[in-house]
């Protein structure tokens, strides 16, 4: 067991390093940092001095080592655009995105998984067919359209919910949360729904496909042949076998949530990481871009690692070694 954990850890570190490498190359080679930071008035000599000071003439790997070292210490550099330390920007923006993403993911799981199970077990019912059509359309509508639709419906026509910003937030240490006020929740509903809807359809389709496949396996047939009660066959035998591959995909879904949060935050002007990244693209703010890359990859790798460990804990075939 320890060997497995260790192996996965090493793999994760490898992926992180690869991403850091990419981020660093971005930072170093795309455009000239010096000309980005200084104006036209700065003389060539001054530019050269700045270059020396910042250590930009050092060999490649020394700079890379410094880059990773800095990040590990929490020093993320400075934004080209605003001159602020990126670390501070992260602190303010990260909680917004994480809360949004988590709520959206929860919505997609809490609704998606039961819906998937239901449509798998009752494939011919009217309810199932309509749900399926619904998901087909859901998968085809881009996230931003969903956002616009929701804003239109609930914000403009009905006027029930706010359509931009975070509403009431509460600070807990450095974490600014919108989960503790009614205003905060009201602002969270539409964006979370937007983000979650797309993920929901994906989850539902996945669970459905898996479950239908599991219901066709030999061991289910055998359970039926033994007269095991249907409830047990469906919810004990089939469901447990379905969830295992589903769990891995949920890990991947988290990545999707992070990515689509960019779009959602843009539509709702939600002050999170995604919006930050978008602005950095528009203004070619390279340091912010590369830090975003590293942070996102970190979360993604973390989630995947946890999913793998969960997988490991649940599937006895991995846990218990074979013996004859």
């Amino acid at each position: 067991m320890a060997g497995f954990i260790l192996k996965r850890l090493v793999q994760s570190i490898f992926v992180m390093l690869a991403v850091a490498f990419l981020a660093f190359s971005l930072f170093r080679f795309v455009g000239d940092p010096i000309s980005q930071m200084t104006g036209i008035e700065t003389t060539a000599a001054d530019q050269e001095r700045l270059r020396e000071e910042l250590g930009l003439n050092d060999p490649f790997f020394k700079q890379f080592a410094r880059f990773t070292g800095d990040i590990l210490h929490g020093d993320f550099g400075y934004s080209f655009r605003t001159r602020e330390p990126i670390g501070d920007m992260l602190l303010t923006r990260l909680p917004a995105t994480l809360e949004l993403g988590t709520v959206a993911l929860l919505i997609s799981l809490i609704v998606g998984i039961p819906a998937g199970i239901y449509t798998a077990l009752n494939p011919r019912g009217v309810m199932s067919q309509s749900i399926l059509i619904g998901t087909l359309i859901g998968v085809s509508i881009p996230t931003f359209v969903i956002g616009i639709l929701l804003i239109f419906l609930f914000g403009v026509q009905l006027g029930w919910l706010p359509t931009y910003g975070r509403g009431g937030t509460v600070e807990i240490g450095w974490w600014r949360s919108s989960l503790f006020t009614i205003e905060g929740w009201r602002s969270l509903v539409l964006p979370a729904l937007t983000l979650g809807l797309f993920q929901l359809t994906l989850t539902m389709r996945l669970v459905r496909a898996q479950m239908m496949e599991v219901m066709r396996t030999d061991h289910i047939r055998f359970a039926i042949a033994r007269g095991v009660p249907w409830r047990s066959i469906r919810y004990r035998h089939a469901l447990s076998n379905t969830m295992i591959p589903v769990i891995t995909i949920i890990g991947l879904q988290f990545g999707g949530v992070i990515a689509f949060s960019i779009v959602t935050e843009s539509v709702f002007q939600w002050p999170g990481m995604g919006l930050l990244f978008l602005e950095s693209i528009r203004f070619v703010d390279i340091p912010v871009m590369s830090v975003y890359l590293v942070v996102i990859a970190f979360f993604f790798v973390l989630v995947n690692l946890l999913v793998d460990l969960l997988y490991f804990a649940i599937d006895p075939r991995l846990r218990v070694r074979e013996s004859t």
Binding site: G3, A225, R226, G227, N241, V320
Partner: protein, 566 residues
Amino acid sequence: MLTVENLSVRFRDRYGTTLAVEDVSFDVRPSEIHGLVGESGAGKSTIGAAIMGLLPAAGEVASGRMMLGDTDLRALSPAEAHRIRGKRISMIFQDPQTSLNPLMTIEDQLIETILAHEKMRPDAARARAIDLLEEIGIANAATRIRAYPHQFSGGMRQRVVIALALCTNPELIIADEPTTALDVAVQAQVLELIQKLARTRNVGFILITHDIGVITQVSDTVTVLRAGRVMEQGQTRRVLGQPEHPYTQALMAAVPPLDRKLDRFRLPSVEGEEVDADDTAQAKEAEDWLMSGIGSGGPSLDLQDITVRFRGERTGMFGPREDFVALDGVSLSINPGSVMGLVGESGSGKSTLAKVVAALVQPASGQMRLDGDPLQPLRTRRRDDPSRRLIQMVFQDPYSSLNSRHRVIDILTEPLWLFDLEKDQARRKRLVKAMLALVGLPARSLDRYPHQFSGGQRQRIAVARALLSRPGLLICDEPTSALDVSIQAQVLNLLKNLQTRFGLTTLFISHDLAVVRQMSDDIAVLKDGKLVETGPSEAFYARPTAAYSRDLLARTPAVRFDKPTT
């Protein structure tokens, strides 16, 4: 106990309806083992499914009666039918690997099944489960019951499956190909177990299988099925020993005997596969072409000390890597123009040896010689090496050995242009047609695709492809294992004919000792990658020297009526 009368089952597909089972009647008494035997498509599994109420969505019982004691099985509602399952009738399937839920312990699966049909306290159920496992032959049942399915070997798993079927004390158990996926030794044990259970627990069995040897050994009564209809039925000894129906007679004539070597299988002429007169003339043309290429007969093959290792997983993070040794210092010699039979159970390494010779697997060490000249292994054999043409192979699975996206003519002309054997396109086509005639297929097969042919026909195409390279050494890797008995006999006859005419050196691989006896001049026995015994075939079968070989021969279910069926 079970009475089936005039049962008919039909299936709906996009072409209409077909009757998979037509007017079948038989009965099973307590303690009786009734065999349902037939080739593929005979409807045996369908009958089992119909009795259980487990027909797929496209199937339904069209007519007939199925009475279990006083209960009319057809008249039951779905809920009632489900209650009967396990309680009065149980069913077990072919593959023990996939029949058990991998996520539940054996204990949980057993207790759940018992409690589904009887009210008792869980520890009482557990006690019964443990007793049952011991009865079935699993030692240390009290500890092992907590294990998961993947922790048991194949044979043990099938025992667990049987335990699960038995734990509710049903009157009847339907066993659908229960031993087909198991090794010979394990198969023998499981069959013995079934016989014992029938006796001691008064359970009736329906044994569904295509293996005539198994039926002969174990069943009391038998029903012979063909295309959904009953051909003959009665006491096994009589029906299979002195068959009256022509189909049964033909079937028994096609079974390869273990106790002697036939010259040819006596078969009725096959409908739809008759070869016309001018095809025969064409066949002669192919024959001449082949003979001119082979000349003085096939080459000799010498293998020295072949070892093959497959990389395994590390046991721990820093532990040693456990490599799997597939072949361990195997040395073998095949005389020119003779047939060497290679036998062994699954995992013994026989296919691996073939693949080493064919340059599909790299040996860790060892040398090979073809007709005295060194034969390079996988990594060093060039693509234009003459051995590429001289060594050809017929594979086991007729469904994957031909590219389903190529037409027969493409498949067959490939060796001709690849090896520069015939440059002219028109002559190529003639040659290919001629070769088809030689293997007994009509010329119009050329424009068809593989899926339009049956398994036996596909194997013939595969043989034709092999011959079109003008080979010297032919490797047959379980060429008939996937075929029905009667088709197998035809293909074996074909191979015998080819051997007589062309004298190719042949390596004939099979796990079926009876089949190998029919084909070989010499024999070699492999066990766990080691060569156990080798020598002339008939001498081997008369008196095998190694203990393992004797054991293997004894446990092979054979069609013999001198031994009492317990």
